[in-house]
Amino acid sequence: MRFLDTLSATGRPWALRDGLLIFALLLGAAFAKESPAAEVELIGTGTFKPLPAESLAKLPVNLPFSKTDLASGTWSFQVRYEDRTADSDPDPYVGRYNGAIRALRLTIGATALNLPIDRAELIVSDGGLGFPERESIRMQASVQTALGVLQVSWVQIHQTAQRADLRGAPGLLTSDALPAASLLANLPNNRPFDRFLLVRFDSPSQEQPLLYLSSSQLNVSSRPVTAP
């Protein structure tokens, strides 16, 4: 106050007060933008190559999805994640955002399955994982069942044919930070098959998966989750 009084004596009190007010407003706006954690939802819908009849016949009967579902050739996924989660991996080129995924739902045909999120992972690689020429975003979750492990993954890769170094500024991902939702939905890539939804069901007693579905035919979008 004394400082204000001193300045007030100079005949320019309003300029300082206005400046402080603007500064306070800007500071408040900055905190208002940073502080609340925001949840984002990714929604992907698409098709996969339906299993042929002979493959359907070999499937165990108690899979989470019926044979009609698996013959439908249509599927979708929804992932809800929190976009302020901290990176738990010290690797400067690999970000692991444990706990970021709050919900993951897979729908095949007419059957929807909510996967538990305790083993869900969101991994961002900015030329890490031993591949400097490759950037990737992987979201996945798995669930243990009596038959085996069901795993769902949404994987996107951006890579160059040449052995370029995409770490840092040269790539689309300039760090291992959690990218914008638009990139988690659609990371640009050079090849149509460098983005895919994968569903596999592995039995501990079998070398090959009981079920393996993968498709790049997906439309994925993102949107902020609004409070109910």
């Binding site: 190559k49 490759r134 994987v155 090849r191 098959f193 895919f196 090959q208 998966p209 393996y212 993968s214």
Partner: protein
């Protein structure tokens, strides 16, 4: 497959080109009338084949492509090397892939005389663990 129809198409194309060549020669106005113009039939345009790759297992890539009525057999190449030739179906399963490698597939279609008449764009897939 309709090789007879294809031959008729090629013959018609050749006649058409010959007609154009002769017409051009007459209209030139020069004094070279009576010269014989030999026209080699142009190769038939190469039809584009659609190609789709699907991971059907951890170490399995299925290659599917579209058919063409004039093709009698296909050749599937991977990274420039022939993976299978004389293929008469429109699908092939490649079991010889390993993790973290990128593979580019290309399908060529040949007619009954062995002419290349259809080809896909290269399609590449990375086998991510």
């Amino acid at each position: 497959m309709a090789p007879m129809s294809y031959s008729i198409r090629r013959f018609a194309a050749a006649i058409g080109l010959m007609f154009v060549a002769l017409t051009a020669g007459c209209g030139g106005g020069g004094d070279g009338g009576g010269s014989i113009v030999v026209v080699v039939p142009p190769p038939a345009p190469i039809t584009a084949l659609g190609i789709v790759l699907t991971r059907t297992g951890p170490l399995t890539v299925q290659v599917d492509w579209t058919d063409d009525p004039y093709v009698t057999d296909f050749t599937v190449s991977r990274d420039g090397y022939v993976l299978a030739s004389n293929v008469t179906s429109t699908t092939l399963i490649d079991h010889s892939v390993i993790f973290d490698q990128t593979y580019c597939y290309l399908v060529d279609g040949y007619d009954s005389r062995g002419n290349l008449i259809a080809q896909s764009d290269p399609a590449c897939i990375t086998v991510v663990p």
